[in-house]
Assembly symmetry: C2
Homo-oligomer: 467 residues x 2
C-alpha cells in the first residue's frame, strides 16, 4: 500500500527503530542524576547531541533537543526576537513558511511587534534582493530583529536561496533562522545561518524530537518559565530514547541520501512531473530544478481535491492536498495562494525513502483515470478536451454563490463558449478558492482575466474570452 | 542492581513497551490526514485519550497530551491565568510544588502578576485553612486568579489535602490546578479540581508525554503561538506511539496498584522508615501516614549527601538527594527548606513497581555501615554515639567560612562539649545549608537554637548548650 506523504510524517526508519529499542532499555533514567543509570543516560544524550550536531553542522553545545519541530520554531523565533528586542522588533519571513512560523509571527504581532511577509514568485521561491531589502530596512528605516526562511518548501518542494540570504543577513547584522524541517535529512544547510530548526519524524526519526541550533554569539532569551535542561531552551524531561533514535536515523538517512537514494528519488519525481504534465488540464507547481528530491505537487482543473484524495486512497495511494475542500479552513493552502497558482484538485506526492519504482509506475497508470472519474462525477468530463464552441451570445453572468471549489471554475468553463471572442463571463462566487483558481484557469486556458470587483453578495470575477 | 529513584523516572513498564512497539508500526502517520494511515493514527489517538481520561476522571475532550509533565504545568498555569486575567492576577501555590510550578510562578511575576507561596508544616503538608485564605483574599482583598497544589510531594511523599482544598476553591470560584505527577499512577485525584497535570515517565510510561486536563467551563487561553492540535493546548506533531504507550501503561499500573502493589510497597516503605530511624542521628522526614506508598526520605547528620550517594551507588543502589552538596545550586532542596528539616545527608528512596523485597532488605543491611563510613571519612565518626563530654570552657566561635555542608554542623558538634551548659557556640558559615541544618541539629540533639545574625563574612548562627 504505497504511502506518498512522507513530507507529513515518514514511517520509522529501521535504524531509528533499532536505536529506540536499545535506548528504551538503556536511556529511561534522568541524565541529570549521578547514579549509574543516570550516567548511562547522560552518555547516550551526549553522544546523540554530537551525532546530530555533526549532521547539522554546528557545535554540540549549540544544539538543543526540543519536543518537536514546531517547538523548535516557536522557541527559536521567540528567543531570538527577545534577545534582539532593543535592536529591532520587526520579524521578516517568507510568505510560504510553515504555519508554525506564521503562527509565531502572529503571536509576535499580538505582543506589539511587527511582522513582514516577503512574497514569492510563481515557483514558490523568494527573491534574494526582495528578502534582503525587507531585512535591511523597514518602514521606519530600522533593521529587522530576526529573519526566517525555510530551506525548502513543505508543500511544493522549492528550494529557497538560503545561502545567499544568510550571507546578506550576516552582512546586515540580522540573525537568520532557517526552518530546515524538509531538507535536513538530505543534507546540511549552506551559508552562515544563525539559528536552525528541524523535526525528526520528517526524516524517519520518531515523533517527539525537534532540533534547535543557536550559534554562539547569537543573542537569545528563551521564552516561558525557566528550566535547567537543554541549555534552558527546552523545558521538561528529555525524551531520551527518541532523541537517540532521531540522531542515529539522521546519520543513516544522510548516508543513504549521499549514496544514491536522493538521485533515485529525484529521477522518480522527474518521471512523475513529466507524466502528470501530460494529463489534460493539470499544472505541476513548484520549481522544476531547484527542488527537494522526493516531492512534487500538481493541481487538476475541474477536480474536487477531497474527492481526488478519496479516489486515490481507494486505489491504495496516500497523498495530501493543499486544496481548500480537503481542509477545515475553507481557504486554499497559504503556499499555493502566495504562489498564485491553481489550488483546485491539488495533490502533493512526497515519496518515502526506499519506495519501490513499481509503486510510482502504478500511480502514474491510475492517475489519469482517477482524475477523469472525479471530473465525470462533477459533470466536467468534457471540459478538458472540448474545444471552445463558437456560439456567440451576449456577455454572461454565472451565479456560483454558495458553491465550493471546484464548481465556480467548472461553471465558468462550461459557459465560456457561449460568449463571443471579446465577450465577458462574470462569475459571482463566495468561495475563497475562486480568487486563486479563476485567474489560474485563465492562465492555463489562454483566456484573459480582467479582474475582480465586490458584488452584492460575494465577489464578481470577470473573464474575457480571447480565443 | 536496585534502582530506588522511580520518583525521578521509572523504568519502562512492560505494557508500555509492548504498546509502544505496536504503535511504532501503526501510529507514525499524521492523525489529521484522511488516508488510511492517518485514520488509523486518529483511532489510536482517540482510544488513548479515552483510556487516559478514564484514569484521570475527566471527559476525553477535556484532556490534552503534551510533550512532558513540565509542559502540562507551564501551559496549564499560563493558560488558566490568562483566562482569568480580568478577575485576578494572583497565583497561589504551595511552597513545596515542583520546580516547574515555581518557575511558572516566577515567570508570572516577571510579567507583572503576583505569586504567593503558602508555607507547609514540618510534615510537608499545607494547612487547608491557610491555603484557602490565601486563595480567597490577597493583600488587596481580591480573589486569586489560580491556585496550584500538588497531590503528593515529589521529595518527601507527603499527600496534600487536595480534596478539601479543591472544594474550598470551588466555593471561592477560583480554579485549582493539581500537579498529580507523583500520584496519578496510584489512583485518581479526589475533589472538584479544575485542571490537572501529570507525566507518563513517572508511572512507567515513556518519556515525552504529559497530560493536561482542563475541565469544561474553566476559562483558558493557551499561551504561545496558536496551533491546531490537542485543542490548541499543545503545539507540534503528536508523539503518538508514546501517547499510546502512556495510556496503556497508566491503565496497567492502576490495575496493579489496586490489586496489591500499592499495599506491598507501602509495607516495604514502612519497614524502611522504622529501620532507618534506628540508625544513629538520622531523621525520617515527610508524613508517616498520609504519604505515597513507594517513597521515603531521610537525612543523616554529619554526612555529605554526595559522598553518601556515591557510596550507595558503589553498593549498587541508585537513590537521589535533596542535599545541596549533590546539586549545582549550592542551596538545599526548596522542599526541605520549606519544611524546616535537616538537609544534610539527605536520601530519597522511591521504590519502583515490582521491586524485590530482598533489594530492600539488603539496602537496610548496608545503610548503617555506609552512613558510618561517610561520617568516619569526615572525621565525624564518634559524634553520633559520643555523649557530650563535660569540659566546660568559655563561649566559643567556630569559623566554618568557606566550608560546605555538612562541615559546619560537624564542627559545631565537635565543640559543643567544650562550653558549659548554658554556654554558647557561634558558628560562622556562608554555606546556605547551614541555615537549615544548624537549627535541625539543635532539634535532633536537644540543644537550643538561639538564632542567626549577620557577620562580617557570612552569617553567625548561635547555639546554646542545654544538656
Amino acid at each position: 500500500m504505497p504511502y506518498f506523504d512522507s513530507a507529513s510524517s515518514a514511517p520509522l526508519h529501521p535504524v531509528a527503530r533499532q536505536a529506540l529499542l536499545a535506548a528504551l532499555d538503556e536511556g529511561w533514567a534522568d541524565p541529570g542524576r549521578l547514579y549509574r543509570e543516570g550516567r548511562r543516560a547522560r552518555m547516550l544524550l551526549d553522544a546523540a547531541r554530537e551525532t546530530a550536531a555533526e549532521a547539522v553542522g554546528c557545535r554540540p553545545d549549540e544544539l538543543s533537543f526540543t519536543p518537536s519541530g514546531t517547538h523548535a520554531l516557536h522557541t527559536g523565533i521567540a528567543g531570538a526576537l527577545a534577545g534582539r528586542r532593543r535592536v529591532g522588533r520587526r520579524l521578516v519571513v517568507s510568505a510560504v513558511e510553515h504555519s508554525a512560523v506564521l503562527h509565531s509571527a502572529a503571536a509576535h504581532e499580538g505582543a506589539g511587534g511587527s511582522a513582514l511577509e516577503v512574497p514569492v514568485g510563481r515557483n514558490g521561491a523568494v527573491s534574494v534582493d526582495s528578502f534582503l531589502s525587507a531585512v535591511r530596512s523597514g518602514a521606519d528605516g530600522s533593521v529587522a530583529g530576526l529573519a526566517c526562511l525555510q530551506s525548502a518548501n513543505h508543500e511544493v518542494g522549492t528550494l529557497q536561496p538560503v545561502a545567499e540570504v544568510a550571507a546578506g543577513c550576516r552582512e546586515a547584522g540580522v540573525p537568520l533562522l532557517v526552518d530546515a524541517a524538509q531538507s535536513l535529512g538530505w543534507g546540511p544547510v549552506a551559508g552562515p545561518w544563525s539559528l536552525l530548526a528541524a523535526s525528526a519524524h520528517k526524516w524517519g526519526g520518531p515523533a517527539g524530537v525537534g532540533l534547535l541550533a543557536v550559534r554562539k554569539g547569537v543573542r537569545f532569551a528563551a521564552p516561558g518559565p525557566s528550566g535547567e535542561r537543554e541549555s534552558g531552551r527546552a523545558a521538561g524531561f528529555e525524551n531520551l530514547p527518541a532523541i537517540v533514535a532521531a540522531a542515529a536515523s539522521l546519520r543513516a538517512v544522510r548516508a543513504e541520501a549521499a549514496a544514491e537514494e536522493a538521485a533515485r528519488l529525484r529521477a522518480l519525481v522527474e518521471r512523475i512531473r513529466s507524466s502528470v504534465a501530460r494529463v489534460p488540464d493539470v499544472e505541476v507547481v513548484g520549481d522544476a530544478v531547484a527542488r527537494l528530491p522526493h516531492l512534487v505537487t500538481f493541481s487538476c482543473l475541474y477536480v474536487d481535491g477531497e474527492a481526488l484524495l478519496h479516489a486515490l486512497d481507494a486505489e491504495g495511494f496516500s497523498v495530501s492536498s493543499g486544496s481548500s475542500c480537503t481542509s477545515s479552513t475553507l481557504t486554499p493552502s497559504h503556499v499555493l495562494r502566495a504562489m498564485g497558482v491553481l489550488s483546485e484538485g491539488n495533490v502533493r506526492v512526497s515519496l518515502p525513502r526506499g519506495v519501490p519504482e513499481e509503486d510510482v509506475t502504478r500511480f502514474l497508470e491510475v492517475l489519469p483515470g482517477v482524475v477523469a472519474g472525479v471530473r465525470e462525477s462533477l459533470g466536467a468530463g468534457s471540459l478538458g478536451s472540448a474545444s471552445v464552441p463558437d456560439a456567440p451570445g451576449p456577455d454572461l453572468v454565472v451565479d456560483a454563490l454558495g458553491r465550493r471549489c471546484p464548481i465556480p471554475v467548472i461553471e465558468l468553463a462550461k459557459v465560456i463558449g457561449d460568449v463571443p471572442v471579446g465577450g465577458t463571463v462574470t462569475v459571482l462566487a463566495d468561495d475563497a478558492a475562486a480568487r486563486l483558481d479563476i485567474p489560474a484557469w485563465c492562465e492555463m486556458r489562454g483566456q484573459e482575466y480582467v479582474g475582480e470587483s465586490p458584488a452584492e453578495r460575494g465577489v464578481a470575477y470577470a473573464v474575457r474570452r480571447t480565443r
